[in-house]
Symmetry: C2
DNA sequence: GATTGTGAATAGATTCACAGCT
DNA sequence: AGCTGTGAATCTATTCACAATC
């Protein structure tokens, strides 16, 4: 099992998909499967499943297939999902609100390993109000909250104009990975890993096929 | 200018990024730029910008650079953003609600080319209530609404358990492209183009780097 | 002198095809 | 007989390096 440090983002994302598939099989009481069954049931590529899985060990039994539960556990381990991840959300607008509710209220049925521990927004009208059980704080509290809770994940969901400033605050506060929803190109910083998600870009990709 | 039918998703997504950058320069009153300036200002690759742009024509002036406004207009044209795209949202939960508000209320400042024309949800408590000025309808109204409005884009934001059923309804109603937020593998259908976005997968990708 | 546009080179991702187990 | 694991082949994407142009 090679050092997992080198698994590509493409493969990581597919591992997450396989995880969902395996959980579904497990719930249905299925204990064994194969790359071909997974491919058929979930519209995946059997070869790709095997290639992906062998990057962190040999898990299958030739001639037979894979054991659902051990494989599921191993993927969770590889992805770092063995523990709960604490996150802060910066920005209490539409997207920030939806994410807090989605992650904290659905957490039971979700089998999600993420929990929001604090929400930040600098709008005076929002500070002090409740959001899914959390009091919205001004971003001046960010560093102290990260210190106190040990949250390593940050979700940046502010307007484009405020993104860079809040990004720098998050990095300074010790956040180590950021999911960015602001439509802004953030500078690289070796202290933090950033994944940017731009909903309008997704729609624009689809729009291309509607001409 | 080769048939645009063959531009890859990677390139399309970068074109969207370039578009945002050019709009920002335009707002700042800058009329000319170069691949190197764009790269420096927005942390992009100058070579890649040039390669991407030449896929649909020669736009630069050697030794000089690019004219901001014409290039912006050409990218909008290539992406099919010359007109407003009408979309329906299926699912009035956290994510559906956030998207409706985000797209319809921000549409002025957003320079977004997308407008939600209807929201569907089958929860009796939600049917008939208002969301950002739209009355939530039962999904039995979907086909008629698509017919009446000509909406070609659909946003699927329902729980996993309801995703496949609603997906099939959307395809049957004549929706031609779907942005899917449900954590479910949808079957391929030649009638529709699907882009799936799974927020937990993004977080799981980041979690991998926190072990 | 500066910058584009691009063929060639490199790097990365996916698929093929089959040897190796059970 | 059936399925995994994997080197080789293919396909795709990115980067290099420089001729062409202003």
């Amino acid at each position: 099992m090679p050092l997992a440090e080198e698994i590509s983002a493409h493969t990581l994302n597919r591992l997450s998909v396989y995880l969902r598939c395996l959980r579904q099989l497990e719930e249905a009481g299925i204990q064994q499967t194969s790359s071909q069954e997974l491919a058929r049931l979930f519209h995946l590529s059997a070869t790709q499943i095997r290639k992906d899985l062998t990057q962190f060990g040999e898990f299958g039994i030739r001639g037979v297939g894979y054991e659902v539960t051990p494989l599921k556990l191993r993927i969770e381990e590889v992805l770092g999902l063995g523990r709960e991840h604490l996150a802060v959300v910066v920005g209490g607008g539409n997207i920030g609100t939806a994410l807090v509710r989605f992650l904290n209220l659905n957490s039971s049925n979700n089998s999600s390993n993420f929990r929001i521990v604090a929400v930040f927004d600098n709008a005076p009208a929002k500070i002090g109000t409740l959001l899914a059980g959390l009091t919205i704080l001004p971003s001046s509290e960010l560093a102290a909250t990260v210190q106190a809770t040990g949250a390593a994940l940050g979700i940046l969901a502010v307007p484009a104009s405020a993104a860079q400033e809040n990004y720098e605050q998050m990095v300074a506060a010790g956040i180590r990975a950021i999911l960015n929803f602001a439509p802004v190109r953030l500078p690289n910083d070796p202290r933090v890993r950033v994944k940017s998600v731009d909903l309008l870009i997704f729609l624009e990709e689809l729009a291309f096929f509607l001409r």
